[in-house]
């Protein structure tokens, strides 16, 4: 490569890096500004809503879509909030719990799926769902760094945190999905005809028997997050309760019993509701094998209400 080519090539590369760096920051700060206005939608709005209400709520439920769709926290407390978000797991929940106010009495419900606790492959990467606030929140930054999710691209291009969220933010800025003032995080599923047909077909074609795992050793990262949540809650006057929401069928119960045993050992209160509907398993309670319909969710929420009626 001669000097002229080297000069031109370097110039192009530097210009592209510089232009992308500047444009990235413009996009990042623009979307920070816009997203702060967004208080509806799962990806950004719910997190923002949680951040502004976390200091005033007294019951909060964490977990994945089986929390979001199943637990009506308003039945437990009028200042309850459901912080369940699709596709998240224990790392995400633990990080959000650590953002709660210190020394304020609160009931923390964490919905867990016991099988996930025994997966070797669990890497805590669900915490990455919070990377939209990586550069803005010390706790989130620490927790993301903690699971070795060092993302060098994101350290250069900050707007990577908004990956996949841009259209949702723009939509919710102009047309909010719901009025956040009357929203408390619970999204029951009103099952439509297509969903009913899909579930009926699923039951027709699928094998009800599932293979159990070969071994039941709890994932070390999972165990770490359980302990972190416990310590934080104990030190900050919070009551931590773990639950497992109902399943349409759960042919392998070894993980449930092993999980119950481990939680007893580490002294965390745990209630397994996976078989809640085993005696009266009506189709109207279900959207699919793992998600309750609005009717099923109301029954389940009533059960939780009975459990938690005792005041703090």
């Amino acid at each position: 490569m001669d000097k002229t080519n080297l000069k031109t090539t370097l110039k192009l590369i530097v210009c592209i890096l510089l232009a992308t760096f500047i444009l990235d920051k413009v996009i990042y700060f623009t979307f920070n500004f816009l997203s702060d206005k967004v208080l509806s939608g799962q990806a950004i709005g719910k997190l923002n809503h949680y951040i502004i209400t976390k200091d005033t709520i007294d019951v909060v439920a964490f977990g994945n879509s089986r929390t979001n769709r199943h637990i009506n926290t308003q039945k437990i407390s009028s200042s309850g909030f459901n912080m369940g978000v699709d596709g998240t797991s224990i790392a995400y929940s633990a990080t959000l719990i650590k953002m709660l106010p210190k020394n304020k009495e609160q009931i923390i419900i964490v919905n867990v799926d016991t099988k996930n606790a025994f997966k070797d492959s669990y890497s805590g990467d669900d915490v990455n769902r919070l990377n939209v606030r990586y550069h803005r929140d010390k706790i989130i930054k620490r927790e993301i760094d903690n699971v070795n999710l060092d993302d060098y691209i994101q350290k250069f291009y900050w707007s990577k945190g908004y990956n996949g969220k841009v259209l949702g933010i723009l939509k919710n800025v102009f047309i909010p999905k719901y009025d956040y003032r009357t929203y408390y995080g619970y999204d029951p599923i009103y099952v439509n005809d297509t969903q009913k047909q899909i579930f009926q077909n699923y039951l027709k074609y699928s094998d009800p028997e599932v293979d159990c795992l070969d071994s039941y050793t709890m994932n070390s990262l999972y165990r770490y997050y359980l302990k972190e949540m416990k310590v934080f809650c104990e030190e900050n006057k919070k009551k931590l309760i773990l639950i497992t929401a109902p399943l349409y069928r759960d042919s392998c119960k070894e993980d449930n019993s092993k999980f119950t045993k481990i939680l007893k050992e580490i002294d965390i209160e745990y209630y397994d509701y996976s078989d809640l509907f085993i005696e009266n398993n009506l189709m109207k309670y279900w959207k699919d094998e793992i998600h309750l319909s609005n009717e099923g969710a109301e029954v389940f929420s009533d059960t939780l209400q009975e459990l938690l009626v005792t005041p703090l």
Partner: protein
């Protein structure tokens, strides 16, 4: 190593810098670096299978020289057969043994005879179909006296394993790539701009368009029995674009990377969905494979020189084997058969009507036929394919399954951008391969910046490139 991985993002700049600044003094050094880099690139997946590439390379290097050195037709043929036997033998064992063993087992069972299960636990070596076809073209060309073998073993081994095209093509023939391996490469600014721009477009096509579409396609096709016809139609249309942008994207990155290292590959995709017939489609889709099949299989079988019936037979054999090349499953055979039948019909119609196009309606019929064939390409087995076709035919007008609405929205918006860009290329008769060098510096930087920002904001966590499995 995948092109869309962090490893490659570090690997390629290191190779690029060493190539142009440290190993640039002599041709031999350049080739040794490329050979080592290619073996690292392949070994990153599984170093044990490097032995197969080495074996193929050794066999074809020596058989090539032997074929060339002999004037005796029988001797030449013997060496060619050795090359064919070795290469196709490896491909047969690793790719097709289990398919034929299980088909034989099923057939016997059909007759009511119980035989032992003969299948073996074999891993399919990545890229074996691609480099096998590449090495075969070398010995066949020498046998046909269309190409002279090289004595430079380093150049030859580098040609076989050259990392931009090793695992998923384009299938570069020796006649194009090997002469480039034998001359010292000189950095060309024009090629740098073209290559870099094509890599960015390739990444956009792959990790933004194809991978976003793939999320919906996987959801529907992995449980096709539970979904309604509307969902299956949408998923099939999405898949048509997913596989195109996935493979064309891969080819763009391969061609662009090669250009940055001073090599010019042939075009592999030329806007195939803008075809007015299946015949035209195959001149635009996976061109390195379709031209390979034409030159080494169809023409070897007699092509269209032996009468109309033999021509149709040759077309069918070529397409059936072309289907089987993609994977050892009856689905791929049916996929090839659909294309073979339609190609034969078109040949008949074109010769009868003395025309070579169906006009505007051809765009629609071609896309619909390709769409139908993709069902077989994507479904997990033949029964599932038939079930999907039946469901689509019995259209039930139910609401499609949407799933992640955000993902579906992004998929559609990004797909529109992709189609718009392709239409722009088609309308203006631009070649993507040359586009980067037509921009001034400001435009080049601006467009590159725009693409990088789109990549950051809309990439999807990706799967392997679809064509890796072939």
């Amino acid at each position: 190593m995948l092109f869309n991985s962090i490893e490659f993002l570090l690997f390629f700049p290191i190779v690029f810098l060493l190539y142009w600044f440290v190993f640039n003094k002599r041709l031999k050094y350049q080739n040794i670096l490329l050979l080592l880099a290619s073996y690292i690139f392949y070994g990153w997946w599984d170093w044990r299978f490097l032995s197969l590439i080495l074996f193929s390379s050794f066999v074809d290097y020596f058989t090539g020289l032997k074929i060339h050195s002999s004037e005796n037709k029988k001797v030449r043929k013997r060496w060619l057969i050795l090359s064919l036997f070795s290469n196709l033998g490896l491909l047969g064992v690793f790719k097709y043994y289990n398919f034929f063993a299980s088909s034989f087992y099923d057939l016997m069972l059909g007759f009511g005879w119980q035989v032992d299960d003969l299948t073996l636990h074999i891993i399919l070596p990545v890229g074996i179909s691609f480099y096998t076809f590449q090495t075969l073209s070398y010995t066949i060309d020498i046998y046909r006296k269309e190409f002279k073998p090289t004595k430079d073993i380093i150049s030859f081994f580098t040609y076989i394993s050259f990392f931009p095209q090793l695992v998923a093509g384009p299938i570069e023939r020796a006649s194009n790539l090997l002469p480039q391996m034998e001359v010292k490469r000189v950095f060309k600014q024009k090629w740098f701009n073209e290559g870099a721009f094509q890599i960015l477009i390739g990444l956009f096509r792959k990790i933004v368009i194809a991978d976003n579409l793939g999320a919906y396609v996987d959801t529907i096709y992995n449980n096709s029995e539970i979904h309604n016809s509307s969902s299956l139609i949408i998923a099939t249309i999405f898949y048509a674009f997913q596989i195109y942008y996935d493979f064309a994207g891969y080819s763009d990155i391969a061609i662009g990377s090669a250009k940055l290292l001073g090599f010019k590959f042939n075009q592999n995709f030329n806007l195939p969905y803008f075809s007015k017939s299946i015949t035209e489609f195959w001149r635009r889709w996976h061109m390195s494979l379709s031209f390979w099949l034409r030159d080494y299989l169809y023409i070897s079988l007699g092509g269209n020189r032996k009468g109309i019936i033999i021509t149709y037979r040759n077309l069918m054999i070529t397409m059936l084997l072309g289907g089987l090349w993609h994977g050892s499953s009856w689905n791929f055979v049916v996929w090839g058969a659909i294309h073979g039948v339609v190609l034969s019909c078109e040949k008949f119609i074109f010769s009868y009507k003395k025309t070579s196009t169906f006009g505007f309606i051809g765009y629609i019929t071609t896309f619909l036929i390709v769409l139908l064939s993709w069902v077989f390409f994507r479904a997990k087995d033949l029964n599932t394919s038939i079930l999907i076709i039946k469901k689509i035919i019995h259209f039930d007008f139910l609401m499609p399954f949407i799933g992640d609405a955000n993902n579906v929205t992004i998929s559609i918006v990004m797909l529109m951008i992709g189609i718009f860009f392709d239409f722009f290329l088609y309308k203006n008769k631009y070649n993507l391969e040359d586009l980067g060098s037509t921009f001034g510096e400001f435009k080049f930087v601006s467009l590159s910046t725009l693409i990088i920002v789109l990549l950051i904001l809309f990439y999807s966590t990706s799967n392997n490139f679809i064509y890796f499995q072939f």
